[in-house]
Amino acid sequence: MIAERRSATRASPAAAAVRLLDQREFMILYILLLGCVGVAHAVPEFLSRENFSAILLALADQSIIAIGMTLLLVSGGFDLSVGSTMALAGACTAIWLAAGAPVPVAILAGLGVGVLIGLLNGLIIACVGINPFITTLGMMSLARGLLMVVTDGQNVSGLPQSFTVLGQGAFLGIQYPILFSLALVGAGDFLLRRSRWLRQCYYIGGNEKAARLSGIDVDRVKVICYVATGLLAALAGIMITARLGSASTTAGKGLELRVISAVIIGGASLKGGVGTIAGAFLGALLMSVIISAINLLGVELNWIDFVLGATLLLAVMADRLSAERGGSRG
């Protein structure tokens, strides 16, 4: 009876709207809007164009990496090495540029570093069968160590203007990194929702054994997702190097956990099978807005980590509780 009633009301437009609002993305959007209105009430400059572009600019590298991390979490894995990959790829590009390589060549080589790290991660996880935590933890340290070796612990600067313009230029007043990250997030979200190939991630995360029996080439999908994540991390690293005009050896430290938090706030689960890139982006945005609000409200900055941690826990617990109330979906 209940089931019948539920399916009957589902057809009405009002119910469709309710269902839409019920989705994780809209919930975060709602919280974001509410929060923004609240903060703007106290500090009007929060709504300024400068503040928003500062938020989005600081978010650019995270949101690009979050695309790959979402693929991984959806398919039941994750990657702790993204921060190191990002820094290493940025540094390699910078070193090659400083050595006089043409800009496109240096960028491609930097991306190659990311692909290589992702490929190693993927092969070790899918083919050797080591779990993602250990594998990417090792790779995190390995890549960071390699970075220290190739840079000798020094930041790399003195990059040509034809390269830095990629991170510092703007189109219609909006910086390239913002445009670039938004475009990638949009494309990624569309593809994860619609493409046949990426849809396989949900099946693998949902039940890996059943996915195998359904004819999905699980190992291959996993390897390619890790490669994509490595590539995106490298891209973020090169972009940030261009923006700052130098490659820093401490770039991306702690970034992996921030990105994973954002993806989980956005609706993904470590168990796999759920999550969207739009959700992950909104999760990252929520965290950035919180940081910005803390700044502007004049709260002591030491509170930032505390508040971010609380946000993650609240989001996950809210999810859990609403799932229990809705029944079945444990």
């Binding site: 539920r6 046949r196 054994k209 059943a210 029996l213 004819g215």
Partner: protein
């Protein structure tokens, strides 16, 4: 006077009355075998006797005094030792540590006294005349040896009553001999043993008395020496067949699937069989006979090491499930929750899983409308009771989940369907619908290989029954030869099946 007794035990699970007023008694110094088909209630009885589950009604008497076992620990404290089918050893620890888990001899400061542990373990092992270093990690043992460790672990508690659930399913002949000697010694010491087994020959070899369970009731308890093997089989089966299974109305077509000399290491060898269009071939055998492994090998999940698969006259190379699906072979797994369904995903996503490619439009994008329409049609044609195609499969009942699994695989329009325990754990209504679906599929020319431990179902649906024993073909039965007695006897190795 019986040392341990159960009176009028009732235990129900949702939809099943697992034990329906069963009484059981154990005398001092006897080996008492409990036999019955799968689902007869043997496991539930053991669970009640050993404190794993509490019965809804009925009492347990130990030395004539009522006892309640709220936990296995409590049962163990009263001297009831159990060896379960599922092994409960910690692989990374040594034999000695596994034998005395939770009660290792400790010295000062609560530290484990390694020397004493080693000495006690060695003493126990030598009693069983097993020459092995007690420090060997369990990981390095073969499954039969692990079973022995499991049995020794139960014995090390010095139980008055020892319950063994299928102890020989993985034991080699030599280890089985050691086990039986050990049991005879325990019997001489006046201890009592409950012995569960599918292997009737063993029952006659070791048991003093036999209790037969069927459909959750006790059929009879008799002295083993008063019984012939044939009597026992008849007591175990003795049930009328109803017509849930229907009858075949279509003619069989040409040969569709043929396996020649199939072999997979550690599972089966020398298997040759064929299935015709529209034919349902039943695969019978005990647990561990290699039926599931054979099904999974034909599907490429754990591919054949050797052998040829011929489908409609063409030789196929099947190394992955993807190969099998492209060739039109579908496989219904025996454990839908484990590796069949995507429980957290929606009905819609589940239905589309094995054929995502069919819903692929331009640029590799999925046509979600088409997937929804397909799922809706599955829901209607298979009468899946669900609030809608967006409902997670976890929210459906067992029978409906099984129908989703079936719908998922019928979607690829299979030329061959391998159905592994298709009605396990579903209620009577869903069961008859599933049987009708299989019949309908066969009528449309699909060749079906049916794996089932439910003999009435196997007999009711199959045109022909092939029996596996220990990974080898043990016999083939057809028409009037195919009786439950004959198949059970052949599967248990009591008599040779007719080679057809």
């Amino acid at each position: 006077m019986p040392v341990f007794e159960a009176r009028d035990i009732v235990k129900t699970y949702p939809g099943v009355r697992a034990l329906d007023g069963v009484s059981f008694d154990l005398r001092p110094g006897e080996v008492h075998a409990v036999v019955g088909e799968n689902g007869a209630g043997k496991s539930t009885l053991i669970h009640v006797l050993s404190g794993v589950t509490l019965p809804e009604s009925g009492i347990l008497l130990l030395d004539g005094r009522p006892v309640v076992f709220p936990s296995p620990h409590e049962a163990a404290r009263h001297g009831i030792g159990v060896v379960f089918q599922e092994l409960s050893l910690v692989e990374d620890l040594s034999i000695a540590e596994n034998l005395f888990v939770g009660r290792q001899p400790a010295g000062r400061l609560g530290l484990i006294d390694r020397r004493a542990l080693r000495r006690q373990a060695a003493a126990l092992l030598s009693e069983f005349r097993w020459n092995v270093d007690p420090e060997t990690p369990v990981r390095e043992l073969r499954s039969a040896q692990r079973q022995v460790v499991e049995i020794l672990k139960a014995l090390s508690l010095g139980p008055r009553v020892l319950i063994l659930d299928e102890p020989t399913s993985s034991l080699a002949a030599r280890e089985k001999g050691l086990l039986f000697n050990c049991l005879r010694r325990l019997r001489r010491e006046g201890r009592s043993i409950v012995y569960i087994s599918h292997r009737l020959a063993e029952v006659f070899e070791i048991a003093d008395r036999v209790t037969v369970l069927r459909d959750g009731r006790r059929v009879d308890t008799r002295r083993a020496s008063d019984l012939a093997e044939g009597d026992l089989v008849r007591l175990m089966v003795g049930r009328e067949l109803s017509d849930v299974y229907g009858t075949r109305l279509h003619a069989l077509g040409a040969e569709r699937l043929r396996l020649v000399d199939g072999r997979r290491r550690g599972a089966f060898a020398g298997i040759t069989l064929s299935v015709r269009r529209g034919e349902i071939v039943g695969l019978a055998g005990l647990a561990g006979a290699g039926r599931t492994e054979l099904g999974r090998a034909l599907f490429g999940a754990e591919p054949l090491d050797e052998g040829t698969i011929i489908l409609d006259g063409a030789t196929l190379r099947i190394r992955t499930p993807g190969d099998a699906i492209r060739a039109g072979i579908a496989y219904l797994t025996e454990s839908r929750k484990e590796d069949g369904l995507f429980l957290e995903l929606t009905l819609r996503e589940n239905c589309a899983a094995p054929r995502l490619g069919d819903f692929c439009g331009r640029f590799g994008l999925l046509d979600d409308g088409a997937i929804t329409r397909f799922a809706e049609s599955c829901r209607k044609s298979h009468r899946i009771a669900s609030p809608g195609v967006q409902a997670p499969v976890a929210s459906l009942s067992g029978g409906n989940q099984q129908k989703v699994l079936l719908a998922m695989w019928l979607g690829i329009r299979p030329r061959v369907l391998i159905a592994d325990e298709p009605t396990r754990g579903v209620d009577v209504g869903a069961r008859s619908e599933i049987c009708q679906m299989l019949r309908g599929l066969a009528a449309n020319g699909t060749a079906i290989l049916l794996i089932s431990s439910d003999l009435p179902e196997l007999l009711g649906l199959s045109d022909r029954i092939v029996v596996l024993r220990g990974g080898r073909l043990a016999g083939e039965f057809q028409g009037s030869q195919a009786t439950e007695e004959a198949i059970l006897a052949c599967a248990a190795g009591v008599t040779e099946g007719a080679a057809a």
